[in-house]
Amino acid sequence: MRGAGFVLDLGRCVGCGACVLGCRLSNAWPAGVSWRRIVPFNLDRRGGGPTYHLSLSCHHCERPACVNACPAGAYTKRSDGVVVLNEERCIGCRYCEMACPFDAPSYDGAAGVMTKCHLCSERIDSRLQPACVAACPTEALTFRGRNGVEREKEPVPGFSDPAGCAPSLDFIPPRRAKRSHLYERLREVLKR
């Protein structure tokens, strides 16, 4: 069984960035730190388009590289799958930053420690949505509990798992008419 994670609907995300600022507001990360970002893909419109957006944070992987890389034992994977970082145990060595292929851990230079998305574990423990999900104006970003259904098996162009971490992020591909057609064509173009 896979742990909890985010689900991103590629047909609904327009890359507006409200998730990024919603996270920042709720988790009060300082300047220079980033727990979530928008990565636009296919800006050069291969296959005729479309451009779409990946809203990415920590993926709370099934095999998290950060947990193994940390010499201080600051990382734990909770029973629901959420990967949390205990900043008090962090020694600021930044090994996790090097190990994580998704740039999820973010160094807080002022505090001298790593920081990272914890899937708003306190919020989800009290049955609230993660802050980024609550902020998403188009309801493109949703939260899947650990018993949630897996969606897309096919690899999503612009997103890969180079270190075999098995991220818990799921994607819903574009479903409608032209956009779905262009998305499939883009996959074909990229395979060649």
Binding site: R12, V14, V20, L25, A135, R176
Partner: protein, 650 residues
């Protein structure tokens, strides 16, 4: 918005779940207020330009206002009150802004501005056609089966509307976009056509041509609820797809397909963007486009109709104010602010007070705006941040933020009037604008009773007749004060002179000297003009989600998610000029030259280039230097999207 404050800092911002238009969500600009309120560069004390002109020094309110009042009084006695220009924009606007007249009326009436930069041509076109600028409740969008967005990009400019459109699409609606650019909105669409900028009147008449040829117009509806249809149909017959294809640069087959898809599917909703009306024939373009929902019988139908502006919440009355001076004020065109200041004589404009606006950044013809403001003996700018305009001022007075004074705000898409609560004390020496006006009144010996100690008294006096208890309702939820209901124009009665939808508008001809039936006229600065020989590319400067014009771009939070301002240019156009992705390029015409980095964009129509508008920080390109200060055919709008340029290597 529901905002949580702890020890003077914003710790949470959520959408109001009781507002059905937003479904309890906030856009990223709304979220960035957590940064904006306490931003390190926020101006929190009055500032005075140092003698010699270099930089500013802090000054206390009494010294600032004593000096400003003395200088205004001297100008008034030497040159008369109209030697002072009062210009207010709409940044941080609220109902209490009207209190400035408690000063300006007894002052004797300054020179004012008319028209605006944003949307007036479309408003006038909507009024002439339907009698009022109203539309059905946004939530009816999801009942649509066909959504045609024309020059509209809600993925950037109305994220809440984008949610409704995606929802309608998921329920089966076909989404079509008319836009020379590819956008996140057009990427979500099922149909995308890309006309040459400024040819939309021809495209609208071409769609009408195909719709009528195919018998898809609603004759029964038209015979009961419309006038001038015969003249309009005659005009549409002049625009077969082949001719329209030649004008717009769209394949005639694509025109037929769009027309048939729109004409055959009901209910169909047509949403026009403001960008569609930023050229010199904009009013007629908007009339032509606005008539399509009427032609197809989509008006008054749930999920159908015409959306441009919804002024349902604009029901406020002026509060008690001292009497205005006799006769109309002297007024200059907002769209031509720089030239207006420079050209005024008897008396010439010697001082300006600018509030909620940043004309140096946002008005066309930057050079003339700067020249105009630099000629002044006194320039006072009220703002939260050191803008391009504030930098030219003699005095910069700190402005409150929207959380620092209770006020009422109206909307232009959803129908709700909203009460903005005071949840924070203004920081530092910041005063609400109404308090600045009151203090000036004190210095001039004018009546100050119009400034109630509790702004709620003023706000209550502004509520619609018989609705004095509305403020208390607004404390808990937004209210539609119009009583129009969710579905507009259901009864088919329109507040036009004829009581019907006016396909031919004698009023348009009388007021604006245009053809009563919209006709296509090529732009003076369009692809067919003589200018196009030297400057063949049409420049668009569209809006973006991260900013409202020159606001927000200074914030560290916004800069974290903001995209760079680059020149979007088709690879073929770039190649022809020896430019590659990332190169520095010079964008120029006879008005000026601006350096911008190239971004190859295969999705933009060849012959069109684009840079995001809104100059906020010094590294942003000053695209308005290239744009002329022409005026729209109706209602005094600016013509931002009628600008030819050439692009070359620096």
């Amino acid at each position: 918005m529901i905002v949580t404050v702890r020890s003077g800092r914003i710790t949470a911002i959520e959408g109001d779940p009781l507002n059905p238009a937003t479904a309890g969500r906030v856009c990223l600009k709304g979220l960035s207020y957590a940064d904006r309120i306490t931003a390190a560069d926020r101006i929190t004390t009055p500032l005075r330009r140092r003698s010699g002109g270099a930089g500013f020094e802090r000054v206390d309110w009494d010294s600032a206002l004593d000096d400003i009042a003395a200088r205004l009084e001297r100008l008034r006695s030497e040159s008369g009150p109209s030697s002072v220009l009062y210009y207010e924009g709409s940044g941080s606007h609220g109902a209490l802004s009207v209190l400035s007249d408690a000063f300006w009326n007894p002052f004797g009436g300054p020179t004012r501005t008319h028209g605006d930069l944003c949307w007036p041509a479309g408003l006038e076109a909507g009024r002439l056609t339907y009698g009022a600028n109203l539309h059905s409740h946004p939530r009816l969008t999801v009942e649509s089966r066909f959504i045609l967005m024309w020059g509209h990009n809600p993925a950037e400019t109305n994220i809440h509307q984008m949610r409704l459109i995606l929802e309608a699409q998921e329920k089966g609606a076909v989404v079509a976009v008319v836009d020379p650019r590819s956008t996140d909105t057009s990427d979500a669409a099922d149909i995308h056509v890309q006309p040459r900028p400024g040819t939309d009147t021809a495209l609208a008449l071409g769609l009408a041509n195909v719709i009528v040829e195919a018998g898809l117009h609603d004759e029964a509806y038209l015979s009961r609820h419309a006038t001038g249809v015969g003249e309009y149909l005659a005009r549409a017959r002049e625009f077969p797809p082949e001719r329209v294809g030649a004008i717009t640069g769209i394949d005639p087959e694509g025109i037929r397909e769009l027309a048939l898809a729109y004409g055959r599917t009901r209910p169909a909703l047509l949403i026009a963007g403001f960008g569609l009306q930023r050229h010199s024939h904009a009013g007629q373009t908007m009339r032509a486009v606005a008539l399509l929902p009427a032609l197809t019988g989509n008006v008054g139908v749930p999920g159908g109709g015409w959306q441009y502006a919804n002024l349902a919440s604009h029901q406020l009355r002026p509060p008690p104010l001292p009497p205005a001076p006799q006769g109309p004020p002297r007024s200059i065109l907002a769209a031509r602010l720089g030239r207006g200041i420079l050209d005024c004589a008897d008396p010439r404009i010697r001082a300006a007070w600018i509030e909620k606006a940043n004309p140096v950044s946002q008005h066309p013809s930057t050079a003339s705006v700067v020249r105009g403001l630099e000629t002044l003996d006194l320039l006072v700018v009220v703002d939260q941040f050191m803008t391009d305009s504030a930098r030219l001022a003699h005095y910069v007075l700190p402005a409150k933020s929207m959380f620092e004074q209770e006020d009422l705000v109206t909307a232009y898409w959803h129908p709700y009037l909203q009460l903005r609560r005071r949840i924070l004390a203004p920081p530092g020496q910041v005063k609400a604008e109404s308090e600045i006006w009151r203090l000036l009144c004190v210095r001039f010996g004018f009546e100050t009773n119009f400034f109630a100690a509790d702004p709620r008294e003023t706000l209550r006096a502004m509520l619609p007749e018989g609705k004095a208890d509305l403020l208390e309702s607004l404390e808990s939820e937004p209210v539609d004060p119009s009583g129009n209901g969710e579905l507009l124009w259901r009864d088919g009665v329109f507040p036009t002179p004829s009581g019907k939808i006016e396909f031919a508008s004698p009023e348009a001809a009388r007021l604006w000297g245009v053809d009563p039936v919209p006709d296509y006229v090529a732009l003076e600065e369009g692809h067919e003009s003589a200018r196009a020989g030297r400057h063949p590319l049409q420049l668009l400067t569209c809006k973006t989600r991260e900013r409202i014009h020159s606001q927000f771009g200074n914030l560290e939070w916004i800069r974290q998610v903001e995209r760079p301002r680059r020149l979007d240019i088709h690879p073929a156009d770039a190649r022809a000029r020896g430019l590659s992705d990332g190169d520095a390029a010079q964008v120029w015409n006879d008005r000026g030259s601006v350096r911008v980095k190239v971004h190859l964009d295969p999705g933009i129509r060849p012959g069109v280039v684009h840079v995001i508008e809104g100059r906020c920080v010094p590294e942003d390109p000053e695209m308005n230097r290239l744009i002329g200060d022409g005026v729209t055919d109706m209602n005094f709008g600016a013509v931002f999207y009628e600008c030819l340029v050439e692009v070359s290597k620096p």
